[in-house]
């Protein structure tokens, strides 16, 4: 087991595309580290550079104490799980699992023992004699996971392993992966574009955008205080409401008069945007205390909650999360008020967190 150190990684393809601009990561030993970002943000390229499947243009990668820049993938002692499973189509499950061990040249008895162990861990018993095309997507991915852990590598690299599974299966596998990683204590780097997956799996999350790291933090840190407007818009479903505000008589005020508790040390000379989570707002009867007038545009009835989209002084897209018992009709005049603590505030021009 080992930590992974990525410093000043830069990857530029021969055709001129810059896939990774500048990435620094310090992944701790035994950590489940998630790289999250939209497609094309450089997360997969970074992972493939760590695996040795891509050679970075500049920058260093260390696994444990070893500088692995020039090591071929096989010598890095890592295992990878792919989005398309990549099980060898002509081999039965048993042989797919044994394959990397045989390639290493382990004695037969040990190969068998390790395959049995991995099969037990991933509950593959009945599938051992089937070929990949006779397995469902979920089964294939379990085999792929087993093939990764049969090697007992120093680190697991996961490249969107659940993207091709349907929603229900995805949730199950998520639990399974998290449990497995906790059990084995092996460092795991997990790439995904799904923020729910990132939040529920990661010990820490790195949010990447345009080949750069926007923020690294625990799921809660990332949720509560996104480091940039990009992170604010990316994390959370529905995402934060980004409301332009001014500082006036000790309060943050939007143009429509919505008052927010200001964080300390606000710079006064810049245009500011406050990031307000939908659950930090409340839809009230019109004219309620501290509320500003608003109008319901639409309501999404999700069963356990209702997401109201309200129109507040031309801001048509303010989203508010309310319990299912609070009901307002579409187009109804309502009040809108802030109930949470001081929201994170961003500079409009730099798009970064200022307070």
């Amino acid at each position: 087991m080992a930590g992974i150190e990525v410093s000043a990684l830069h990857k530029r393809y021969p055709d001129g595309t810059v896939a990774v601009d500048h990435v620094d990561l310090s992944i701790r030993d035994g950590e489940l580290f998630v790289m999250l970002g939209p497609s094309g943000c450089g997360k997969t390229t970074t992972l493939r550079a760590v695996a040795g499947l891509e050679r970075q243009t500049t920058g260093d990668i260390r696994i444990g104490d070893t500088l692995v820049n020039d090591l071929p993938p096989a010598d890095r002692d890592i295992a990878m799980v792919f989005q398309f499973y990549a099980l060898y189509p002509h081999l039965r499950t048993r042989d797919n699992l044994a394959f990397p061990l045989r390639a290493e040249g382990l004695p037969k008895a040990e190969v068998r023992e390790r395959v049995e162990e991995a099969a037990r861990l991933m509950r593959l018993g009945p599938l051992l004699d089937r070929r990949p095309h006779r397995l469902s997507g979920g089964e294939q991915q379990r085999v792929a996971l087993a093939r990764a852990l049969v090697r007992r590598p120093r680190a697991f690299l996961m490249d969107e392993p659940l993207t091709n599974l349907d929603a229900e299966l995805r949730a199950d596998m998520r639990t399974e992966i998290k449990h497995l990683q906790g059990e084995l204590g092996t460092t795991m780097v997990y790439v995904t574009h799904d923020q729910v997956e990132a939040m529920s799996l990661g010990h820490r999350i790195a949010i990447l955008n345009k080949g750069r790291v926007e923020q690294i933090g625990t799921p809660l840190e990332v949720y509560d205080r996104p480091a940039s407007l990009f992170c604010a818009a990316f994390i959370g479903s529905p995402p934060m409401n980004l409301i332009e505000v001014e500082v006036a008589d000790g309060k943050l005020r939007s143009q429509g008069g919505l008052a927010l508790t200001p964080p300390p040390d606000l710079p006064r000379d810049r245009r500011l945007v406050a990031g307000v989570r939908p659950e930090a707002l409340e839809v009230t009867e019109p004219g309620a205390e501290h509320s500003v007038p608003a109008r319901v545009v639409s309501a999404e009835w999700l069963g356990d909650e209702i997401i109201y989209v309200v129109d507040h002084d031309g801001h048509r897209d303010v989203r508010v999360r309310m319990p299912p018992t609070v009901r307002f009709a579409a187009d109804a005049p309502v009040g809108l008020r802030h109930t949470g603590g001081p929201p994170p505030v961003y500079d409009v021009s730099t798009e970064e967190l200022v307070a």
């Binding site: 499947l53 398309f84 499973y85 095309h133």
Partner: protein, 303 residues
């Protein structure tokens, strides 16, 4: 997902589900269709039928007026003449057939050996100006061969490749490589790169990964591509007639054409030689017919 070529071809015939038009009743329309298709088939297949008939007729039936369609005596003399010279020993035609086999086989093998790795590289790696390179490769096939035959002839004369089998092999390979690259790139694109990635993590080099995992999955595609290349080299006439002159180099197409044009034409021999010449391609095409369709319709089916 791994997609074998067989899956890429729809198993059933594509049917038109549009309701039969009201003016043409379903039945009347079907009859008309069959009638038209029959006429078309007769027109298309008649030369082939006539070739086969002529090849097994005795000479006096070949020249009979009115032509005999059914009541003629079957003879295999012409086929014997294709392979055996009149004085005994091997005929020049049989030498031409051997030349054709050699030239078409070697040029196809060369084109495959050169084209498949190139297609793999274009599919897998990020190459500078990849699209422009691929377009350039394709563009070499834009012009008809006749256009370049004179310059090629002059160049070949300079380097001593005129009237050699090597010369034909090289020119056919040059024509087949671009085609092989383009057709194979489609097949390689369909094989997920993850197989190679996984194999590399398991301890293989990139080339080993290609050889052991990607290549076996490409075999149907390679077969289809090779058959196309083979058919091209086998049928090629223009270069063969311009670049060769002696009987021991000449391939079958110019050799068969050479049978016509003396004072008398032995049509039975011409027909028999043509049948022998057409057979291998028909057999090959039949064997790989599924893959041929897959090759032609590639890209129409998304995974």
């Amino acid at each position: 997902m791994a997609l074998s070529v067989d899956e890429a071809v729809s198993t059933g015939p594509a049917r038109d589900h549009a309701p039969p038009s009201r003016r043409f009743g379903g039945r009347g329309r079907a009859v008309l269709e069959v009638a038209l298709l029959t006429v078309l088939a007769v027109v298309m297949l008649f030369p082939v039928l006539w070739m086969i008939e002529t090849s097994i007729k005795e000479n006096r039936d070949v020249y009979a007026i009115p032509a005999k369609f059914f009541d003629f005596k079957v003879t295999m003399e012409h086929f014997k003449d294709v392979f055996v010279a009149s004085g005994g020993g091997r005929s020049t035609l049989s030498a031409s057939f051997l030349n054709s086999v050699l030239v078409a086989g070697v040029s196809t093998a060369l084109a495959t050996v050169l084209g498949v790795p190139a297609a793999w590289a274009y599919s897998r790696f990020s190459v500078k100006a990849k699209k422009d390179q691929l377009f350039f490769i394709l563009s070499t096939r834009f012009m008809p061969p006749v256009v370049v035959v004179i310059p090629i002839f002059l160049m070949y004369r300079q380097v001593g490749l005129i009237d050699t089998k090597l010369g034909l092999i090289l020119i056919y390979t040059a024509f087949n490589v671009p085609f092989t690259i383009w057709m194979m790139k489609g097949f390689v694109d369909e094989v997920p790169a993850e197989y190679e990635d996984a194999a590399m993590l398991d301890g293989y080099t990139r080339l080993q990964a290609f050889w052991r995992f990607t290549l076996p999955l490409l075999l149907p595609g390679i077969a289809a591509t090779a058959v196309f290349a083979l058919i091209f080299s086998w049928n090629e006439f223009v270069f063969a007639i311009f670049l060769t002159s002696s009987d021991d180099v000449r391939t079958a197409p110019p050799a068969i054409a050479g049978l016509i044009g003396g004072t008398t034409v032995d049509w039975g021999l011409v027909a028999a030689a043509s049948v022998v010449f057409a057979l291998p391609v028909l057999v090959f095409a039949y064997l790989v017919r599924k893959h041929l369709v897959a090759g032609v319709t590639l890209g129409a089916v998304r995974r």
